[in-house]
């Protein structure tokens, strides 16, 4: 195990609360220095995973190892991890400096060493002047940075963060996102970060673990998850997607024809190779991959096209959302997102248009729609 000394490994981890299965045999490996995000809807079990790693909750089954040694039942205070809690959990009876120093004080670090290290940790989060304040005298963003400094001072191998940005306003959240990411790069600490905000997940993570109802749906790099979702849940949870049911016809290696309500659609996805012929699948196409083209446009750049009627046009800011229904599949209207450009009177409801897209913009999900 060359790289194994900072690797977190979760094997068949389960948790029930009074007979209700909250986590179901979760398998997850987090590499040393990785930024891994656990993403999922509310109640999916994100916090539960984090609490099991941190040792705040006992698992019902499974194993957690860190650097090769079993930490499943290790007491919280012995684990080489630190947590940034969602509501920060700063000690109200201690000043900022005392809060940050806490991890060193309880480890019996000499006082002469603590003072400079507290200064350093507060400098990292740009809060040098706030040493003597109490947590109630800080803003939400400042509290959050104190919580971070308090965790960092222990020099943990791994930091657990439970929606640390959820309580901040949008602008601050963007700043903190960049800050956290650069900090993580700089210190080479493993981050396990929980969020239900997909934009946050995409912009910060090395890998994302999408979880739903206590089960892992997909683990992968942000682009992989975005462009090659493994399940209909991931495809729709992660941004908007058009889902089309169909049957696969093997053609060439990674390119295939699929019979759908829209007729024959050409898809190009490496995962097709592993699927049996005539498998029931779902195609996912991003709304921004669909284009309205001239009826006589060149077929070379667009592998798929169909004629349809515009149902609605909705201006939502940077983009406009257009719904187009094909006569062959009136109950499967497709969603398009096009840039909202000034002056351009694009399409109006009722217009007859031709919609086209490329084969490589189709993700093939080896599953049927539920």
């Amino acid at each position: 195990m060359a790289q194994g000394d900072g690797r977190l490994q979760i094997e068949r981890l389960s948790k029930n609360y009074g007979g209700v299965q909250v986590l179901d045999a979760v398998e997850l490996t987090v590499d040393d220095g990785e930024f891994l995000t656990i993403l999922g809807p509310s109640g999916s079990g994100k916090t539960t995973i984090l609490r099991l790693i941190g040792g705040f909750t006992e698992p019902s089954g499974g194993r957690i190892t860190f650097g090769g040694s079993d930490v499943t039942h290790m007491p919280i205070y012995r684990r080489p991890f630190n947590t940034v809690f969602q509501d920060y959990a700063l000690f109200p009876h201690m000043t900022v400096a005392q809060n940050v120093a806490y991890g060193l004080v309880v480890r019996g670090v000499p006082k002469a060493e603590i003072t400079p290290r507290v200064g350093e940790a507060l400098a990292v989060v740009s809060l040098e002047g706030f040493m003597d304040r109490y947590p109630t005298q800080l803003s939400g963003g400042q509290r959050q940075r104190v919580a971070l400094a308090r965790a960092l001072i222990c020099q943990p191998r791994l930091i657990l963060l439970d929606e640390p940005l959820a309580a901040l306003d949008a602008e601050l959240r963007r700043q903190m996102r960049a800050f956290l990411k650069s900090l993580q790069r700089q210190l080479r600490i493993t981050f396990v970060f929980v969020t239900h905000d997909q934009e946050e997940a995409i912009s910060m993570s090395d890998r994302i673990c999408v979880i739903n109802q206590g089960k892992i749906e997909q683990i992968g790099a942000p682009k992989e998850i975005y462009y090659r979702p493994a399940t209909p849940f991931v495809a729709t949870f992660f941004g908007d997607n058009n889902l089309l049911p169909g049957h696969l016809h093997h053609d060439r290696r990674d390119t295939a024809n699929v019979d759908t309500p829209f007729g024959k659609i050409v898809v190009r996805d490496p995962r097709v190779v592993d699927l049996p012929a005539n498998a029931a699948i779902t195609i996912a196409v991003r709304p921004e991959a669909l284009h309205i083209v001239a009826a006589s446009g060149d077929a070379a750049t667009h592998d798929n096209r169909f004629a349809g009627q515009v149902l609605s046009v909705e201006f939502v800011g940077a983009t406009s959302q257009i719904r187009v229904a094909a006569p062959a599949a009136p109950d499967h209207p497709l969603l398009l997102k096009v840039p909202s450009l000034a002056g351009e009177s694009a399409v109006r409801p009722g217009d007859q248009v031709t919609v086209a897209w490329r084969a490589q913009d189709c993700a093939v999900l080896p599953a049927t729609l539920v």
Binding site: Y77, T83, D87, A89, F91, Y102, V106, Y134, T136
Partner: protein, 296 residues
């Protein structure tokens, strides 16, 4: 705009609201003034008068206070009672904290059943409680029987009744719920999150207790201790019933001035001294019980 126009018009409704306001002020401040401040002022006044041949002389003087300070048997009872109350307080804070901590760690129904069990004695008559405790402490009481059963004593001891120890035990038992409840509430209010954060930062359970639980429960503990001290130092019923001749306390001294001695002015002066001590303790507890972090 709407607010401007109503306050700008000197009409009827405003004046009526003014009267209503005055009525409320009179109620809020008047009732306590009549029921609490007035009797206290009367007492204060009595303390400066004196008694001669069974009649109260209304001459202003500090004689009662000098008489108290100059008489060693009075001051000895006074300091003895202060120490007694202090001991009751220390015992109850230690015991009360232990019980409250144990209760706060329990889960579910048992916890609240036991807490209810603490509240019930608070609703019982004080005299009945004291008599019950007296029954336990007597030579044929439960305590002696238990000690003999355990082989600690060979025959019943009369050490537990009609002396200061009896007063100490009785007051401690009777006042224990007053100490436990504020501490229990303080412990209950500490979010589990803080304890988890502490452990997460590497603190052992004992360190978490000492550095998070204890300081955060301190305000409630101070209040519990204060209740205990103030109630113990002025009590006369318990010493009267279980103290006998050897268990004489300041409360009994005050009581006797209004009864046997029939010296109301001196009794009033002694009460004022007791009041000042109690107020001092309450103010000190107020300080100690609201540390800087709570006042932000």
């Amino acid at each position: 705009m709407a607010a401007l126009s109503t306050t700008g018009r000197p009409g009827h409704p405003d004046r009526r609201r003014g009267w209503l306001h005055l009525f409320w002020l009179a109620t809020v401040y008047g009732i306590p003034a009549i029921l609490i401040v007035l009797p206290l002022l009367t007492f204060l006044m009595f303390g400066f008068w004196s008694v001669e041949e069974g009649r109260i002389l209304r001459d202003f003087s500090f004689d009662n206070y000098f008489a108290f300070a100059g008489n060693e048997s009075y001051t000895r009872v006074f300091t003895g009672t202060l120490f007694l109350a202090l001991r009751v307080m220390i015992i109850n804070v230690l015991l009360g904290f232990a019980v409250a901590y144990f209760l706060s760690r329990l889960e579910g129904r048992l916890k609240y059943a036991l807490v209810l069990g603490l509240i019930v004695p608070l609703l019982m008559s004080y005299i009945i409680k004291i008599y019950a405790i007296r029954g336990i402490l007597g030579t044929s009481g439960l305590l002696n029987k238990l000690l003999i059963f355990l082989g600690i004593l060979s025959q019943p001891s009369d050490l537990f009744l009609f002396n200061l120890t009896a007063v100490l035990i009785t007051l401690s038992l009777a006042l224990l719920p007053f100490t436990i409840l504020p501490i229990f509430i303080a412990l209950e209010k500490i979010p589990a999150n803080y304890l988890e954060a502490s452990a997460d930062l590497g603190a052992t359970p004992w360190q978490t207790f000492r550095r998070v639980t204890l300081p955060m429960a301190l305000p409630g503990t101070v209040v519990g201790g204060m209740f205990c001290f103030v109630l113990a130092v002025g009590d006369f019923l318990a010493p009267e019933l279980v103290g006998g001749t050897r268990g004489f306390t300041y409360g009994r001294l005050v009581f006797s001035q209004f009864g046997m001695a029939f010296n109301w002015p001196f009794g009033a002066a002694l009460s004022v001294i007791l009041l000042i001590v109690s107020l001092g303790v309450i103010v000190a507890a107020g300080r100690l019980g609201s540390p800087k972090w709570l006042r932000q």
